[in-house]
Symmetry: C3
Subunit: 348 residues, 3 copies
Amino acid sequence: MEILLSDLAREVGGEVIGDGARPIDGVATLETAGPRQISFFSNRKYRQEFMATKAGAVIVGPKDAQGQRPEAASLLVVGDAYLAFAKVSARFHPPATYPAGVDPRAAVDASASIDPTATVMPFAYVGPRVKIGARAVIHANCAILADAEVGDDCLLYPGVVVRESCTLGARTIVQPGAVIGGDGFGFAFEPAKMRHFKVPQAGVVRVAPDVEIGANTCLDRGTLGDTVVGQGTKIDNLVQIAHNVEIGPLSLLAGCSAVAGSTRMGKGVILGGQSGIIGHLEIGDGARVASAAAVYGDIPAGGAYGGHPAIDQTRWLREQAATHELPELLKEVRALRKRLDALEGGES
Amino acid sequence: MEILLSDLAREVGGEVIGDGARPIDGVATLETAGPRQISFFSNRKYRQEFMATKAGAVIVGPKDAQGQRPEAASLLVVGDAYLAFAKVSARFHPPATYPAGVDPRAAVDASASIDPTATVMPFAYVGPRVKIGARAVIHANCAILADAEVGDDCLLYPGVVVRESCTLGARTIVQPGAVIGGDGFGFAFEPAKMRHFKVPQAGVVRVAPDVEIGANTCLDRGTLGDTVVGQGTKIDNLVQIAHNVEIGPLSLLAGCSAVAGSTRMGKGVILGGQSGIIGHLEIGDGARVASAAAVYGDIPAGGAYGGHPAIDQTRWLREQAATHELPELLKEVRALRKRLDALEGGES
Amino acid sequence: MEILLSDLAREVGGEVIGDGARPIDGVATLETAGPRQISFFSNRKYRQEFMATKAGAVIVGPKDAQGQRPEAASLLVVGDAYLAFAKVSARFHPPATYPAGVDPRAAVDASASIDPTATVMPFAYVGPRVKIGARAVIHANCAILADAEVGDDCLLYPGVVVRESCTLGARTIVQPGAVIGGDGFGFAFEPAKMRHFKVPQAGVVRVAPDVEIGANTCLDRGTLGDTVVGQGTKIDNLVQIAHNVEIGPLSLLAGCSAVAGSTRMGKGVILGGQSGIIGHLEIGDGARVASAAAVYGDIPAGGAYGGHPAIDQTRWLREQAATHELPELLKEVRALRKRLDALEGGES
């Protein structure tokens, strides 16, 4: 595939500085791109790589279009360089396609309903009354248990498990090994029998359309009501979502984050990597939680929290800066006390 | 299924306030329950939902039976509302049943011994000399490697791996994707060859009866001795248990917690979500570790620890409260110093 | 197998104190070893077990050879007791062997190239143009997608997924459920359509030879360039490696650690359990990150960092010690202020 730089610019609503007639046939990093490839530059950390690039063109934002630019490269200037890069890259990397049909080595229950345009690969298990939508792809070694539903255009990579009665909305992508609908962690201690009595996890997981679920991520089914993931939300790898959590639409949950039971998150929430939220909390729309933050309380809409325990991020940074002065502060206070002792002694 | 409220009350040892003759045919949340369903109320956060419920009956503890109650609902009053709810819910949600027998699409080694009442589903792999007990269920895409043993009434969801010679006690439930018996992380650096020499992980994992193991959780085999999980212990999703860890009975390990090598935990220990314990420690009976706590030292029996590094939870809360005053404290000390300078100057 | 203690000593370059003619037929822990078994002692925490051992021989370092020793045991004294133990244990625990060949119940694409000495077990899926090297073992339920390459002598335990075009170097061991080459977590928000636009993850994962990858660990493919793991590096369970991360050779990443996108780590880096590193950082050669540390900035070569946020480990320990004095410090400062008030009042 070959596209003129000016055509790419038109597609993403940008302008060319330099040679718009340059043919582009691929996307690459600043360091590896050649004269027929386009790259992008938005993180200032990589200014050196930008200036040294051999790329034929570089996508940049308006600010980066004004200063010095690499000798060899034309610029594609656009309001949001990262979004434009994503679209240009998608142009050169269309999604893989799969031949429709159920592989004879898959195990499909007779009562399952699989759209004829769907793909079911070897060793996929499709249980009773399962529904698989149009153009959905079920890779090898997936298991879709009884009464679950996989929407149109879903893509389930190998080893994904969707347990009983859970539903995935259209266009949802599930990376390998993710588990949707495992039992929530609910036990009631019974002293008379010295055991943890298992609380039935009778709800399901309902995933709205356009969601992405990362590799080996776990979404637990609800105890009574359901665990819910809102439309367009993206969840990274190794994330733990406990029973009855409600995640709003358009949220981003980075790798190894975890949300405990019954917490409700609004729309557009961002969880940093390895952050955690305890149960039964309310996290407002647009809240942002820093990496590794440990959230023990509600977060208001628009709040940015960090630390352990998590507090307002700006406040947390101030407290951390103060903590770095603490060893010296201890000495200072000791010194003050001695001076005070001396003063008081002098007065007696 | 339909049961009179008074019969449910008798079964769980409770009493009815209101109409015991009311027929109940299901369990639901306070918000969604209708007049023929029973719900429960124990977390005060949900008092509003309790008062507004349309449930026919609500299970409550003695304290919540005394105040106002929802108009429409009878109350089932019982000492432990959550336990009673669990039992009532289990009444309406009996475990799924599976037809006995080995699916012809499973791969079972000729030397394996599978009880005729067990269920082995398609694409399950059962290796040499493996033993599968009575009524055990092995879902699709599980792999049970050589010499492993799965006890009576075990339930292994899809994608579970039990590696060589590991054993699961009776009635143990393993959620999808869990790995029992992966190699422990043991390497000895060999400077002469500039390599990490792999230490053989020659032990196994021994899981006692009545354990639950969460989705994508990993229990590593021992290096020489074994990794051990005690009876009735419940482990949540994405938990990491390293080689030679010993976990006592009746413990609860919440999601994303991690225990490093050779640490020994007593009985009834509770680990909060994302908490971690380094290796070679002793964690006493009944110890409780808060969510996200980072434990670097032994915890005595009954200890409640939190923070990073984890210390006594009450102490940690005090230190955290003090940290919040730290930026102001720095200013205060500066002010004191000036006043002291002034005083001393005045005296000179 | 039976080996004389003196022969073992010769093999590992050590010396015997006691009876070199003693036949040894196995390795065991200090607590469980009998007179024909060898154990090892290097962690002083286990001195009591050392003195009480019934082992026929114990491997120790030079220091531990000088003091008291157990009555029953001869000593094998060697410079690095742990490395010698590893080698002796490997002598008694040779790796499992597997019959070569592709099981007829595997699904292998006609265009795949599998060395005749390799083993492919039931329900393994091997996609188009995949290459599997000599003596490689692919366990049940693995999925190797199109164009991926698995090097000579690799060992992939059940349920491993290697996605499109990723490569594993020779002798790499992958524990069950690990995912190599899942999509990186990259989305560009598109306000006009209120959606997160998926950035194509067009790179791959390249794993060098002699690497180990733990159970349910996830290595994401690069966005444009590749995610790279250097030779001889060992990665524990449930580790998250994001897109375009570069991990140098001979590093050790303990369980549940996580590295965010585009971070570059030098050689011989050690990450403690549950530690995390945000994206776009540089971690120098030989850097050490403590368990649970949250790294938000570069670490110089040889640096040892800990805490949340992570700082120099020694400094962090000092600040933590100071924090423990903080509640009392607050009281002290209040007292100082009062004394100062009194002094100033007295002077007025």
